[in-house]
């Protein structure tokens, strides 16, 4: 299997190189045959990487500890379902997995564009497979997961197979970890496809609407996956790390946020190009930047260049990434510079108070946020190089710098959609903003009187209610207009309104999701924490909750030993719930980890951790956090995903337009053939 995996990787590399060359040749010579050949090589690339993935999975599931990767990241007692996670539990496996996801994206892009985008496709294939070459090279030469264990003695090496492996990192043995890395990787890798189409558009000078239409959809998909992956990562941190929070501004977390923010900027500014033919250069820059940040994020995660709780062990693959990132920047910047004449705006700004300006301001804040987060993340490296001293840039810095920008963005989330294209009149401003401002003001006033004194929380809830009123107002006004024209009832009108413009109303639903996430953030300053040493019969108070330790048990499984506390919880003196936090000790990796017990509600979570046993007293340490409003973060995230999925569904008008374009294209092809 090791040989099969290596052969698969080498063959994949060869097919990718061929696809790059054939793509360029097909584009230059305008040869359909050569382009098809490049497409088939892309499919062959997918097949060969799949062979390598299947080989590694077979090695993992058969407990073949002769393979170094399997011996380091798996063990016999690891539950069946977590064996899948071994694939992304280490450097080599996750790089192979990344390459496989890229091959899937590329194969889908080729299959979906067999009859479309014929000028763009040859070069798009070349760029996609250029990225494929890079990842197959890094996987094979930098962190090959198919290396065999051997003992070196007396100048000779003999094969070695340990009886069991070191096991999977306990922190990864958690259900969300089965999908969090997959979602995140789908987000990172997917950004290669819009980049490839953007570059192809620059090469072919086909810089009209078409590449934007293609790229927008190809950006939305990875953007959604990346956002969902970030959310799942937060949920994992909340459930596993045991400190009662979900975001710690860790460099690896920041690395995932950067391409998501840049992608968000692109998804907004692309609308200005579609509607008004403006911001063409800017959109190309954003496509390049998003891809660059996705690769940079991968580099930060894998190179060990930044200190992080997530990062893989330090390795030598950082050099590969530096070279690749340099090539991406140099090549794309040069190409963009050479094509500036083809990227002139078709229109000018009619008014400062317009939707176009709204998008400009949205992009300004998003990019400033990208800079701030990136700057804070890499500043320790810069400081070390310049001042030769170790400093850390953590949550206090990011909270001060990024949170105000986030609040400005929240305001624009509501205000932007209320501005009209080209020019918004004073009457229109007054009409559209009065109700949301009054609602926001009322909510803000009530909160202030109710004792909400934390500035960021107050702002989040005030602006959140303003934005919710703006967005829901758009639904209401649209539905009322439909009702007057068609006689539908209100719900029918809402449904038809949304179905007829899935993109716009899907976007609004995403905005509602953002509001709910900020509602969740607003609860952060009100978090409380209590800690106590407990034995059976002891009680611990935290706010309105009283926890009584009913019993403490210990147990043994093939994979880990554990200690479990059963705690009866009373709220305001009445029986409330029973929670059973666990502390596990994984035998193979010799690592402890807490399994948190959480009682969730929309108002607050009661979050209990069995942190371990106090060496002095022999008692168990119980930590209790009361986290207000946390669940709104997960609900908001889920709504964002639903909104994006809705926006991805083509509306009837879009489907009809696509059919018309296809017929026009086929007629043109026939004409050319004649």
């Amino acid at each position: 299997m090791n040989q099969a995996g290596s052969v698969g990787l080498i063959a994949a590399m060869a097919f990718a190189i061929y696809a790059v060359v054939a793509g360029v040749a097909g584009g230059k010579l305008r040869s359909v045959r050569i382009t098809r050949s490049a497409g088939r090589a892309t499919l062959a690339f997918f097949v060969m990487v799949t062979l390598a993935v299947v080989s590694l999975e077979t090695l993992i599931f058969s407990n073949d500890f002769h393979n170094a990767y399997v011996a380091t990241h798996s063990n016999r007692a690891l539950p069946f379902y977590y064996k899948f996670a071994v694939m992304w539990g280490g450097q080599g496996g996750s790089l192979l997995f990344w390459t496989w996801l890229l091959s899937i994206y590329a194969a889908i892009a080729v299959l979906l564009n067999r009859r479309k985008n014929r000028q763009l496709m040859p070069y798009a294939i070349s760029f996609m497979m250029g990225v494929g070459v890079f990842f197959s090279v890094v996987t094979f030469f930098g962190a090959n997961p198919f290396k065999e264990l051997a003992l070196a003695a007396g100048g000779t090496t003999t094969p070695f197979t340990p009886p069991d492996g070191n096991g999977l990192n306990p922190a990864l043995q958690y259900p969300a970890m089965m999908i969090h890395p997959v979602m995140l990787y789908l987000g990172y890798v997917g950004m290669a496809i819009p980049f490839a189409f953007g570059m192809a558009a620059l090469v072919t000078k086909q810089l009209g609407d078409n590449w934007i239409r293609v790229t927008r959809r190809w950006t939305m998909v990875p953007w959604m996956f990346l956002g969902f992956g970030i959310l799942l990562g937060g949920h994992w941190a909340y459930d596993v790390l045991g400190w009662g929070g979900y975001w710690m501004w860790d460099p690896v977390e920041n690395a995932s946020l950067l391409p998501w923010l840049a992608g968000t900027a692109f998804l907004h500014s692309v609308m200005v190009q579609e509607r008004r033919g403006m911001l063409k250069v800017w959109n190309v820059v954003l496509v390049i930047l998003t891809f660059f940040l996705a690769i940079l994020g991968d580099f930060l995660t894998r190179s060990g260049i930044v200190q992080s709780v997530h990062a893989f062990a330090q390795s030598g693959i950082g050099d590969y990434f530096i070279v690749f990132l340099s090539i991406v920047v140099l090549f794309s910047a040069t190409l963009l510079f050479l094509r500036l004449d083809f990227l002139k705006s078709e229109n000018r700004l009619d008014s400062v108070v317009s939707r176009e300006s709204g998008f400009l301001f949205n992009n300004w804040i998003l990019l400033a946020l990208v800079f701030a987060v990136l700057w804070g993340t890499v500043f320790p490296i810069i400081s070390k190089a310049v001042e030769h001293k170790t400093i850390t840039v953590g949550p206090p810095f990011f909270n001060k710098v990024a949170v105000p920008m986030g609040l400005m963005l929240l305001f624009l989330t509501g205000a932007g959609p209320l501005l009209a294209w080209r020019k918004t009149s004073f009457d229109s401003l007054k009409r559209n903003f009065t109700v949301p401002l009054v609602i926001g003001g009322l909510v803000g006033g009530v909160l202030f009187l109710a004792g909400v004194r934390n500035l960021y929380s107050w702002m989040s809830l005030f602006l959140g209610s303003f934005v919710a009123a703006c967005v829901l107002g758009e639904f209401y006004k649209g539905a009322r207009t439909r009702q007057r024209g068609s006689g539908e009832n209100f719900l029918q009108a809402i449904y038809n309104l949304t179905a007829r413009n899935t993109r716009r109303y899907g976007g609004y639903i995403v905005h509602i999701g953002i509001v709910l996430i900020f509602v969740g953030f607003a609860g952060l300053p009100f978090k409380t924490h209590a800690k106590g040493l407990m034995q059976e019969g002891d009680v611990l108070r935290s706010g309105p909750y009283l926890l009584r330790c009913d019993w403490l048990t210990s147990g043994d499984t093939p994979d880990y030993t554990y200690r479990e506390a059963t705690l009866s919880v009373l709220k305001d003196g009445k029986a409330f719930t029973t929670l059973t936090p666990q502390r596990r000790f994984y035998k193979a990796s010799q690592q402890p980890i807490s399994h948190v017990a959480i009682h969730q509600s929309l108002a607050e979570d009661l979050y209990v951790v069995l942190a371990g046993r106090d060496q002095g007293t022999g008692k168990d340490v119980i930590e209790v956090f009361v986290n207000p409003l946390v669940d709104w973060v997960w609900i908001g995230g889920a709504i964002m995903v639903l909104g994006t999925l809705l926006a991805l569904i083509p509306s009837r008008a879009e489907r009809e337009m696509a059919q018309i374009r296809q017929v026009q294209w086929e007629m043109l092809e026939e004409k050319n053939a004649l």
Binding site: W364, G394, K430, F433, G444, L455, T481, L497, N501
Partner: protein, 179 residues
């Protein structure tokens, strides 16, 4: 010559504009007052959790002291001990942080100090934000100037706000019905 109807329209239009500005000013003013009140009302009280969230644990866990989940972490215990003692002495947060820096060096801070080279960490995001805003304003003004000069040469009359609002309403209706 202006007819009385045109004069009335002009007066109404100016009045609408004034009330729009007044609404915006009231909103901004209200926001500023409320935020100032909220800030003034917040009475910071130094707690162990507050300070431990601003210093890094030195055990290599790559998290702040309050988030270090190792129950037997000696570094965490030592740092928390110092913070507790300092709070008991009545020291405020900056003084406690200074004390920790004197003992462990600047690496203990979870945010770089705002002085010397490290000041750059704090300043540059603000500079980037300001530069970005300047860029946006310059671009908008340039685009607007070109539009103005083009409009002047076209000698097209300015569009009345009322007509513009009616057109916007019609477009929104069309948009809702057709898309």
């Amino acid at each position: 010559m202006l007819s009385s109807r045109n004069v009335r329209r002009a007066v109404q239009s100016a009045s609408r504009k004034r009330s729009g500005w007044a609404l915006l000013a009231a909103f901004t003013g209200g926001l500023l007052i409320a935020t100032a009140c909220a800030r003034a009302a917040a009475q910071p009280k130094v707690t162990l959790e507050q300070v431990s969230s601003k210093v890094y644990c030195l055990c290599g866990c790559a998290t702040t002291v309050d988030r270090c989940s190792d129950l037997h972490c000696k570094a965490k215990a030592e740092i928390e001990g110092i913070i507790t003692q300092d709070i008991a002495k009545g020291m405020d947060e900056p003084a406690i942080l200074r004390d920790l820096v004197n003992r462990f060096g600047v690496r203990i801070l979870a945010a770089p100090p705002a002085k010397g080279f490290d000041l750059l960490a704090w300043v540059l995001p603000g500079v980037a934000l300001a530069l970005g805003l300047t860029l946006v304003v310059v671009v908008v003004r340039r685009w607007r100037r070109k539009v103005s000069s083009a409009a002047e040469s076209d000698r097209t009359p300015p569009v009345d706000d009322k007509i513009l609002a009616a057109v916007e309403d019609e477009m929104k209706k069309m948009d809702s019905l057709t898309r």
